[in-house]
């Protein structure tokens, strides 16, 4: 390979990497966070820019005219905030306006008009402006202990804001939330309403939230994408997972409705399912009992009892060492064990 070709290849690689860096968000020419710290260190009072904040203004963003009051010779005609302030800061402010019940005019006198008592992050840099909840809790201890989140927050379910002490919802939350919500149900209730649990765990669910929001491919769901096609594989791999939300009858109800099961259909079981030599049904029933119960539950259990009753040809269905606290005269024991026969 000639040297010229190598140089061209190097240029192409550099251009490609630069393009990738832009796509990945690794850009240097982004707007910078507003230099709050620099202004504070220059001795400029916060209220000089954030005018009228002590008169009931909730959450405040200075106007262009305020900047020009001091910076009389701006270096171009663009709005100052286009470069001196990040869009994420503006978004965070708008988000706070939507989701927080807050009034600066009530807080300023209590803080002796010292904004830094709450906005402690300004002393460290320009990135963290909004006080953390830990700062709020220094005074609002009662609201914290009583978990009265709605005294400051509105519509927490859509806001998604959480104090640092809460278990975070990142990672595979869908799979882990059971273990994590187990010890924190009261915490969950501070943000989530009844429908949050019932939308999936309810017996009478018509359609999962992700099914109803089909146009958002990033909505988490256990039944995402082509689940209908692969559900039999997933159910056989982890049969108990289905029972987290579904009743055992669910399989049969759906299969009958779709016409893949029912009285007029041939048996879905393969050859050798029940027999003296190649007897698969016992192993499969132990592995996925809910699947059996779906069709053979209730009155259908009599089919099993024909062979597996005491003294029957099927023998005992219990494994060695089996024990139960269900009374022998109760269901399902009495199906196979006539009264008084163990």
């Amino acid at each position: 390979m000639g040297r010229a070709v190598k140089q061209r290849a190097l240029v192409v690689v550099c251009v490609a990497l630069a393009a990738c860096a832009g796509v990945l968000g690794l850009r240097k020419n982004q707007p910078e966070a507003f230099p709050h710290r620099k202004h504070v260190l220059s001795g400029i009072a916060c209220t000089k820019c954030h005018v009228d904040i002590d008169k009931g203004s909730a959450l405040h963003l200075p106007q262009q005219e305020t900047c020009i009051g001091c910076h009389t010779k701006p270096h171009d005609s663009n709005a100052c905030s286009n470069c001196h302030g990040t869009q994420t800061a503006v978004d965070a402010l708008n988000d706070a306006r939507d989701h927080l019940k807050f009034d600066h005019s009530r807080h300023l006198p209590r803080a002796n008009n010292n904004c830094m008592r709450c906005h402690v992050g300004v002393a460290e840099g320009d990135e963290r402006l909004r006080p953390t909840m830990a700062v709020c809790f220094k005074c609002h201890e009662k609201e914290q202990s009583a978990r009265q989140c709605d005294s400051c927050h509105r519509d927490l379910e859509t806001d998604g804001e959480m104090p640092a002490s809460h278990l975070a919802h990142d990672g595979n939350w869908l799979r882990d939330h059971g273990a994590r919500a187990a010890s924190s149900a009261d915490l969950c209730q501070t943000c989530h309403t009844e429908k949050s649990c019932a939308s999936c765990h309810g017996v009478t669910v018509a359609a999962l939230p992700a099914t109803r929001r089909f146009a958002d491919p990033f909505t988490a769901s256990v039944h995402r994408a082509g689940f209908a096609a692969r559900h039999s594989l997933e159910a056989k791999t982890d049969p108990a997972a289905c029972q987290s939300c579904h009743q055992p009858q669910r399989c049969a109800t759906c299969h009958i409705a779709k016409g893949v099961a029912g009285d007029d259909r041939a048996s879905p079981h393969p050859a050798g399912w029940v027999g003296p030599f190649d007897n698969q049904h016992g192993r499969e029933a132990r592995r996925d009992p809910a699947a059996c119960a779906s069709c053979h539950g209730g009155a259908g259990e009599q089919l099993c009892v024909q062979c597996h009753k005491v003294g029957g040809v099927g023998g005992s269905i219990h494994p060695p060492g089996w024990r139960s606290n269900v009374s022998m005269g109760s269901m399902p024991c009495r199906l196979c064990h006539p009264i008084g026969v163990r």
Partner: protein
């Protein structure tokens, strides 16, 4: 004048009481069952300490006898001003620590006791689908005692008993723990034991560590399907063939707009053990992640039910509050059993979110064991009233 003032006062009063009321209505129509679904949601705050919520739906299907409707939630919640006691009554999903959730028509309460102890309990009738009323002495009751550990976690012990037609269906005890160990680490664990047919019903837990933009997790789980069925079923006496899983997840934002994650685990059931692997990545096309592309590779399943899959999804924000989205998934089962060697699935959607309105239309196409080729259309229209 007095009449005018009275009318004005009544209007003002109705406005004030209506302010905290929120309503949402969603209609979903598909060419697959259910063909039509309407959901209505409402929640309201009577005061800072009392609120109510209801979610109900009605659906129509082209299949005879499939028309249905039901109430998913209808509950009133109340609490004391200091948060020491709270209660709810109506239809709701009740959870107690490590025990399985129960959809209940009943009541539940929680009281905070001295020395950081909490007591909670519920009792009621388990919900049956389709507004069924032919229930004979079905009931469920449970309680949990827990202790808070500072403001960083709690541990608890719970017990549940459920009767179907007076017969013992579930008697279960559970232990749970959730701890925020420090700024970077947290832990959640639960253990449920079946007392009706003694044996472990469900165990699960995970430990998570976050370090900057990286997140690592170790998880494990064990479930015995036979212990999760009601004890009145013959299929609970077959003995254990539990399914279990364990593994680790490493994920993080490797660039401002690029998230990458991998899940490496193993599954086991009935003597079979197999890897469960997933590799996921998401690239945002803007700083707000409004537009993004994601990809996922998976390897899962046990025995003859192993499968490999790939999924690509994209969401692109368009002008005028429109969003275009598309998903493509391809699943290849290891053993086709005459059900097709490849199961592709694809969806293309266009959504419009404008203020309180949400509308979307999509076309879904697939080929699977059930249908050699299938194309469906989906539509949804929703509106919210009274959102903040």
């Amino acid at each position: 004048m007095k009449r005018f003032a009275a009318v004005a006062l009544a209007l003002a009063a109705s406005r004030v009481s209506a302010d905290p009321l929120r309503l949402r209505a969603d209609a979903l129509a598909t060419t697959q069952s259910p063909a039509g679904l309407v959901m209505l949601e409402a929640d309201a705050k009577a005061s800072a300490t009392i609120n109510a919520e209801a979610v109900l739906w009605t659906a129509a299907s082209p299949l005879p006898g499939q028309e249905a409707g039901d109430v998913l939630v209808m509950a009133v919640r109340a609490r004391t001003r200091d948060g020491r006691a709270s209660g709810r009554i109506g239809r709701f999903v009740a959870t107690l620590g490590a025990l399985r959730p129960v959809h209940l028509d009943g009541a539940a309460g929680r009281v905070r006791l001295p020395h950081r102890f909490d007591v909670e309990a519920y009792a009621g009738v388990p919900v049956m689908p389709g507004l069924a009323t032919d229930r004979a002495w079905d009931w469920a009751a449970g309680g949990r005692v827990s202790r808070r550990l500072g403001d960083f976690g709690s541990v608890g012990v719970a017990m549940l008993e459920q009767r179907d037609a007076g017969k013992l269906a579930t008697r279960e005890v559970g232990v749970d723990a959730g701890l925020q160990l420090d700024k970077h680490d947290d832990l959640g664990a639960r253990f449920a034991y079946d007392l009706a047919n003694p044996g472990i019903a469900d165990v699960g837990g995970s430990v998570i560590r976050r370090d900057g933009k990286l997140r690592g997790e170790l998880y494990g789980g064990y479930r015995a399907a036979s212990h999760l069925l009601p004890a009145t079923s013959l299929f609970t006496v077959l003995g254990d063939t539990p399914s279990s899983r364990a593994g680790g997840i490493l994920s993080g934002r490797v660039a401002p707009r690029l998230e990458v994650g991998g899940d490496m685990g193993v599954r086991g059931a009935g003597g079979d053990i197999a890897p469960a692997l997933a590799l996921r990545t998401r690239l945002a096309l803007d700083d707000k992640f409004a537009s993004a592309i994601s990809g996922e590779l998976r390897r899962d399943g046990l025995g003859e039910d192993k499968w490999s899959g790939a999924r690509v999804a994209a969401r692109i924000a368009l002008p005028y509050s429109f969003t275009a989205a598309s998903e493509v998934e391809v699943v290849v089962p290891d053993v086709d059993r005459g059900r097709g060697r490849v199961w592709p699935w694809a969806l293309a959607a266009l959504a419009w979110d404008h203020g309180p309105w949400h509308a979307a239309a999509a076309v879904e196409a697939s080929a699977s064991a059930e249908y050699r080729r299938r194309i469906d259309a989906l539509f949804t229209l929703g509106r919210q009233w009274g959102a903040p």
